[in-house]
């Protein structure tokens, strides 16, 4: 832990995106998040291809055993897929949409999950620690000694989803998926009517002045929904990692209090960091799920036409009370 503390005193320095060693190689800035995204893609594809082969139904010669998934990891993947599909996607989207969007949503879930979990492995910190040994060079003699410190070459590490840019790239896919579904289900005319508050409102000449306001709000909503996905993921990843880095820097901050104080504080902070690490694992899974689930909700909202529009905004009945539909999961934002 002391080694990690020695690698820096800025908690955000451990969290924010850094330039990778590939920057020198390619001649332009290649952040660690880019490297992590590529490595994460390779990992997620390798793991899921491996799992799919083990989930796949075997030859008939295996008898009943051909239906059994082989291997613990593949079984975990299967349980996740089956549970998320039957317990969440199907109830929220309906069987038709859930089946149609399964590849996209589960690809998104596992990709974000792998990127989040990769961020829990302190590879960049380890490289910095290793680099800290012998990175200082002294030049000159006597009072004219100048100490220079070489920048650490980071090949891998960091949390890709702690980069807002990466999350925006992913959320753009969610945006495309939502609009694709909207155009497929409603058509261009229906889609435009939806943006204007629905066909009934557009044809109601007495409320024409509301239409531009709703149009602006809806167009903003098109952007805000995926932007919220990106910001939520970014904030959760940065927040958790910052908290952990801050806890681990307490020992370094207490450096002037003596070895006993540093040891005691480091011990307590380390124990707290372990607890937060467990919470971080949970948050990594939860945020991947939230990203996928909200994308599914937004997609499903675009599949109910005007009915969806009423749900989305919470319509009032003749007695002026808000319909219970507005509190349904499909109407949640």
């Amino acid at each position: 832990m002391t080694l990690i503390l020695a690698s820096g005193t800025d908690p955000l320095g451990h969290v924010l995106d850094k330039s990778s060693a590939f920057t020198d190689l390619f001649g332009f800035d290649v952040p660690l998040s880019v490297v992590s995204v590529v490595i994460g893609a390779v990992i997620v594809m390798a793991l899921l291809v491996h799992s799919s082969r083990r989930i796949k139904t075997g030859p008939e010669s295996q008898g009943h055993q051909r239906y059994v998934t082989r291997g613990r990891f593949a079984q975990i993947v299967e349980v996740m897929v089956d549970g998320l599909y039957t317990q969440l996607l199907e109830p929220v989207m309906g069987a038709r949409l859930a089946k149609k969007w399964l590849p996209f949503l589960f690809s998104m879930f596992f990709f974000v999950l792998v990127l989040n979990v990769m961020g829990l492995v302190p590879l960049a910190d380890l490289q910095e620690i290793i680099h800290s040994f012998g990175s200082k060079h002294e030049a000159g003699e006597g009072a004219a000694v100048v100490t220079t410190e070489k920048r650490a070459l980071l090949w891998i590490g960091g949390t890709a989803t702690a980069s807002l840019s990466v999350n925006i790239g992913l959320a753009f896919w969610a945006f495309l998926a939502i609009q694709w579904q909207s155009l497929r289900e409603l058509g261009v005319k229906g889609w435009l009517e939806h943006l204007c508050g629905g066909a009934d409102l557009v044809r109601n000449k007495g409320l024409w002045f509301v239409v531009p306001i709703i149009f602006v709000v809806e167009v903003l909503g098109l952007i805000i929904k995926p932007a919220a996905l990106a910001i939520r993921l970014f904030a959760n990843m940065v927040g958790g990692h910052t908290l952990m880095a801050t806890l681990m820097l307490f020992g370094a901050m207490a450096g002037s209090l003596g070895i006993a104080a540093v040891s005691g504080i480091s011990l307590v902070a380390g124990a707290a960091a372990v607890v937060i690490s467990l919470l971080e694992i949970f948050v990594a899974v939860l945020q991947a799920f939230v990203f996928m689930f909200l994308t599914a909700v937004f997609i499903s909202q675009m599949s109910h036409g005007e009915e969806h529009h009423d749900e989305e905004h919470g319509h009032e009945d003749h007695h002026g009370s808000v319909s219970a539909d507005s509190h349904s999961p499909k109407a949640a934002h």
Binding site: S52, F111, W173
Partner: protein, 177 residues
């Protein structure tokens, strides 16, 4: 967020700045991942899960059909058993009725035979009685005639009378033999 803003204001890396390379990389790489997984992974996984689901549903359906068949067989067996019980009860009832009928018939036949025998015996007795009476009458008449003839031949005293009676009784007895 305040810490992020402070850091940004102090000249550190801006955590909320947008950079095109990470965003474009994430977009393109996820596109590749999505296409690869959609082609190589999810159809296989979905088919595996569907196959298993179909297998489980099939097994459950088969088990339900087998249970229904067993239930039907049990109902059929119970119906057959009930029929057999009813049939055996009917047979016993019929046998008892037949036995009763036969017994009644035998009894009636016996009673009839007995009645016939009694009647025949009574008739025989009557015939015998009539014959005996006729015989007795004939004998009495003959004895009377004989006694009368004897009376006519001599006077009868008490001893004679007694003797005559004895003789008559003896003759009657001998005539019966």
């Amino acid at each position: 967020m305040n810490a992020l803003l402070i850091l940004a204001s102090e000249g550190g890396a801006n955590p909320v700045s947008f950079e095109i390379l990470p965003a474009a990389t994430a977009f393109v790489v996820f596109g590749v991942v999505f296409i690869a997984l959609a082609y190589f992974v999810w159809p296989t996984v979905a088919k595996g899960l569907d196959d298993r689901n179909a297998k489980i549903v099939g097994e459950i359906k088969g088990a339900e059909e087998a249970r229904a068949a067993a239930k039907a067989a049990q109902a059929e067996f119970e119906r057959s058993l009930a029929n057999a019980r009813e049939e055996s009860a009917n047979m016993i009832k019929q046998a008892r009725a037949d036995a009763q009928r036969i017994a009644d018939e035998l009894k009636a036949k016996n009673e009839q035979e007995l009645a016939e025998r009694v009647a025949r015996a009574n008739a025989d007795i009557e015939v015998a009685r009539k014959a005996a009476v006729a015989d007795l009458q004939a004998q009495s008449a003959m004895l009377a005639t004989e006694i009368a003839s004897k009376i006519l031949r001599r006077q009868v005293n008490d001893q004679d009378n007694q003797r005559l009676v004895q003789e008559s009784l003896q003759e009657l007895a001998s005539s019966r033999r």
